[in-house]
């Protein structure tokens, strides 16, 4: 048995103490960093990623915070988040109400990205999904009040596809039409020009990240009218005309 006072034993103990201290300290720090990373990964509702950005979780595992997309953006739309911006520190984002995306045809930000956080598979800026415009406030939107503001519709780079004006009856005057700006998620790129140019002091139409803005239909839902069109006719055959059954026994007066 080794005596506890032998020098090699005490040096071994010191060594083990040191290793435990370093490993324990590092584990605590890493845990803190991991937890903070998890907590700080939430993207605020008004921060939009550049075009072609991977889904937020993948984006944070790929973006190396170099700012090359920021540098190649000709309109200074993008900026790198600073600590305290509530966007993951150093990652690129833009705020539509301040500077929207101008949808460059050659998408320089995507081409500049060295890491793949912005997907080079995006070659048509019209297919970008930076976010989705939502007409959030029907109480203040001038078109909802029956006026012909139409500014969000007019500035939309994908006019008549991403935003259309849908005619509706104006129940207040009972004589006029309401022309309701209506966003279509299949065509909206989330560029934010509508939000930027909304004439109200606080925009009635806002662009949110897709995950916030879009609902999702259950996978098993079928729309009967679409299925009917697809099949070229009713899937359950024509409606059977049921005979009108009358209780013949009833007296004539009741019939």
């Amino acid at each position: 048995m080794a005596s506890p006072n032998r020098p090699e034993s005490s040096s071994r103990r010191r060594f083990l103490n040191n290793v435990a201290g370093a490993a324990g300290g590092a584990a605590m720090l890493s845990l803190g960093v991991g937890l903070y990373a998890k907590q700080a990964s939430a993207l605020p509702a008004l921060a939009l990623r550049p075009p072609g950005a991977l889904g937020e979780a993948d984006f944070l595992g790929t973006c190396i915070r170099c700012g090359l997309c920021v540098r190649d953006c000709p309109y200074d739309t993008l900026s790198l988040a600073q600590l305290g911006d509530h966007v993951a520190t150093g990652s690129p984002y833009f705020t539509a109400r301040q500077v929207p995306c101008e949808m460059c045809e050659n998408i320089p930000c995507v081409r500049a990205c060295p890491s793949g956080a912005l997907d080079r598979g995006l070659t048509d800026i019209g297919k970008a999904k930076m976010g989705l415009a939502v007409l959030v406030d029907q109480e203040t939107c001038l078109n909802f009040l029956g006026l012909r503001c139409d500014v969000c519709y007019r500035v939309c780079p994908v006019i008549d596809k991403a935003i259309t004006l849908e005619r509706r009856h104006n129940p207040r005057s009972d004589r006029h039409a309401l022309l309701i700006p209506t966003v279509h998620s299949d065509a909206c790129t989330g560029c934010g020009k509508c939000e930027k140019s909304c004439v109200l002091p606080e925009a009635a139409i806002k662009v949110f990240p897709f995950a916030i803005a879009k609902g999702q239909a259950a996978a098993h839902y079928r729309k009967g009218w679409e299925e009917k069109d697809k099949a070229g006719g009713s899937l359950i055959g024509d409606q059977i005309q049921m005979p009108t059954r009358r209780p013949d026994a009833l007296p004539e007066a009741v019939k």
Binding site: G34, A37, A40, C66, L80, P114, G116
Partner: protein, 302 residues
């Protein structure tokens, strides 16, 4: 003060309480400039690197775009921080070829000249921690507790584990190195607090604490350059007069002893990966013990 001055014999006590200034004998022997040659060279390289990045946003001269995390020089040369690529891989993402090539170029360069040449010649935090170390020395601060030197290796592993666990590049949420460099170029925000914390940590808590004990970037660069060609060699170690100046200024003092004192028959080359090749030991030695050498140069002169 007046009482002190009026004392018949001005005791040497106040003078002794002043911490020794390392390099004084080197300045006396070779002059101020020669005794600060490598320090000045490092500061010039550090500032020039930063200026290259700032020339674009400040003066519209776009030689280098981006920051130390990843950059593109002259529109062709990609350079990427290897630790970022490793974290991205740990998070389960294969970066584009640009970033992979950039990281390979950086790793290859530092594998040749010494990994921690990044730390002492490029990293902007080095200026800060050098200043903290200098101030700590001048003020004679001995407070605090230095974390174990091995902390950085474990933290490097921990950072990669955290990236794998969260699927994100975890260290970038707090990394003061990229925060400072990116901050100078793109705007720093509250990141300034983290950078200031590093300075205070080095000044009050742990001597050479951040760069020498914590920073996982430095740990990775030490691994990258573990067998680097460029080394500091204590070629004229026989002349050493034990003034301890090199130990005082060295950011990783533990690396000097084996080479200088031939511990276990070691050669004059400083072999420890933690050596940053800063050359400060060369500067402050009044008897010219040290010089830069290649790892194949095992000679020692007397």
């Amino acid at each position: 003060m007046t009482a002190m001055a009026a004392a018949p014999n001005p005791a040497p006590a106040p003078a002794r309480r002043m911490p020794p200034v390392p390099g004084r004998s080197a300045i006396a022997a070779r002059g101020w400039h020669a005794a600060h040659k490598w320090l000045l060279a490092r500061r010039v390289v550090q500032m020039a690197t930063l200026l290259l990045f700032l020339a674009g946003p400040w003066f519209g001269i776009w030689i280098v775009k981006g920051n130390l995390s990843s950059s593109l020089a002259l529109g062709v040369l990609p350079l990427t921080d290897p630790l970022l690529v490793l974290q991205s891989l740990a998070a389960g993402h294969l970066p584009y070829r640009d970033a992979l090539i950039g990281a390979a170029i950086v790793a290859l360069f530092y594998a040749l000249v010494g990994g921690r040449v990044f730390c002492s010649w490029v990293c902007p935090v080095n200026v800060l921690t050098d200043a903290a170390a200098w101030l700590r020395r001048r003020l004679g601060i001995k407070s605090g507790r230095t974390p174990p030197e091995a902390l950085r290796w474990w933290l490097l592993a921990g950072v990669l584990a955290a990236s794998a666990a969260t699927g994100s590049i975890a260290w970038e949420f707090v990394n003061p190195v990229s925060m400072l460099h990116r901050g100078v170029i793109f705007g720093i925000g509250a990141g300034l607090a983290i950078v200031a914390a590093v300075f205070v940590f080095d000044l009050l808590v742990a001597s050479r604490g951040w760069c020498g004990h914590v920073c996982p970037m430095g740990a990775l660069y030490a691994l990258v350059g573990a067998r680097s060609v460029l080394r500091v060699s204590a070629v004229r170690r026989a002349k050493c007069d034990d003034c301890m100046d090199c130990f005082t200024v060295c950011p990783e003092p533990q690396v000097i002893r084996p080479a200088l004192k031939s511990v276990g028959g070691a050669g004059p080359l400083i072999q420890a990966p933690a050596c940053t090749n800063c050359g400060r030991c060369i500067d402050v030695c009044s008897v010219d013990v040290f010089r830069f050498a290649t790892r194949f140069d095992q000679r020692s002169e007397s």
